[in-house]
Amino acid sequence: MAEFEPKIIAFLCNWCSYAGADLAGTSRIQYPTNVRVVRLMCSGALDPLYVYRALIEGADGVLIGGCHPGDCHYTNGNYKARRRVAVLKKILQEFGLEDRVWLRWISASEGQRFAETVREMVENVRSKGPNPLLRL
């Protein structure tokens, strides 16, 4: 049987993390192709529903990328995102899924960090195995 290839949905903010991912691409930094990127205007615009939906529909992991604290294009969206993700992870903990959702601050100049984050996350999720919700 072929090795399990995790599917990761990444919600990236337009101003930092998405630009970081873009930089990784234009700099030709290699990273796993397991990630599907959804661009948001701000990590603070992430409705937890998006994350739940992704997990229920079979994503093995969800990466949320935002600007570093203090760098939010909208002043404080990332701080609000952090609280929201904290609540979301508490809820997912109840279902044993909290480690499948990662929050990372990645700036527009951190193409390398984006690539490393994806690499790290893919390996981590691969070791966990497929999303258990898939059987539902």
Binding site: Y52, R53, G58, R83, I91, L103
Partner: protein, 365 residues
Amino acid sequence: MTEIEMTDGNFCQVIGEFFKKLLGSSIVEAVLVPQEISGNVVQSLVCSHEKIENVNPLAPVLPVNSARIVSKLTTKDSDQKIAAMLRPCEIRALVELVKLKQAKIDNLLIVGIDCFGTYSVSDYVSKNNEHNNDGSVTIDFLKGIQVNKEISEIRTACRLCHHFVPENSDIAINLMGRDLNKKIVIRAGSDEGKRVLEELGLEDTPESKEREVAVEREKDRRRKLKEEIEKEAVDFLQVISSLCINCQNCRNVCPICYCKQCVFEGPISEYSKEKYLSWARKKGLLRMPEDILLFHFTRMSHVLTSCVACGQCEAACPNKIPLGRKYHRLSNEVQKMLEYEAGRSIDEELPLSAFREDELEAIES
């Protein structure tokens, strides 16, 4: 603090007299009080004092969380003042609704009462029927409480509750640490309450030692109960996927779930046949009705920060999913993490619209 001596030991009548006095004084236009109606005890909005006949705020039953009723009564502007008799979980939910801009308390006199817990509506009504609605269910219940008898019918949410003393009330009816056959105590909890008691000619004296001791003892007792209940592990995923029928009763009775149109009634949860088929193809089979898990996840995300753990969700569930204890524990954890407590203060900002720069650093993976 005002002590009212009871001549015949009928505390319900004494509380009824207080409300009659309040209505007669023209301080308030109407009072919202729990009264016995058709074998149950439900909230009633009363304007004329001869209709205050069967007040029973001590009956161990909570058909709805009255914060929802106060929300209905107060969201539109008006100058008429009303008084509302509320249990602690109802006051706490109301505080949250005020912050969520779903209720106003400017023209509301909150009369709170110590709460000893409640039965489910069906348990209460059937017990009451057995006793020909003679009021003995309430009396037996309180007698049991006074001698620390373990009453198994008390709802789990109430057994877990450690907010049984009414905070944030204008006037508080204190029962703990008292011999209920002899007297009840009415105290002012705010300047407004003080003014009202003065106007009614009731004097204010300080808190007693006996009460503090009794409250501490009760807290201890509930802490032990809570530990016991939390030991029973529940696989929530398993329980939801086997028992939930997506009736959404839990949402309909929740005092915090206030949206006029729930996200699950909007177009984002209307799918085409092709969408259903594509899900079914992906997983091999699709459990129907769909979106049950998404509904529970989302409801948790929406309410946990303001949840007061009143357990109405569990009471409304036709398949007895133990939502009450889940929400109790999770809301406690979430609120603790965000240094917030639902219902504690009207001035505290809602936790999801606030933040601190130096917090939750461990959330970043």
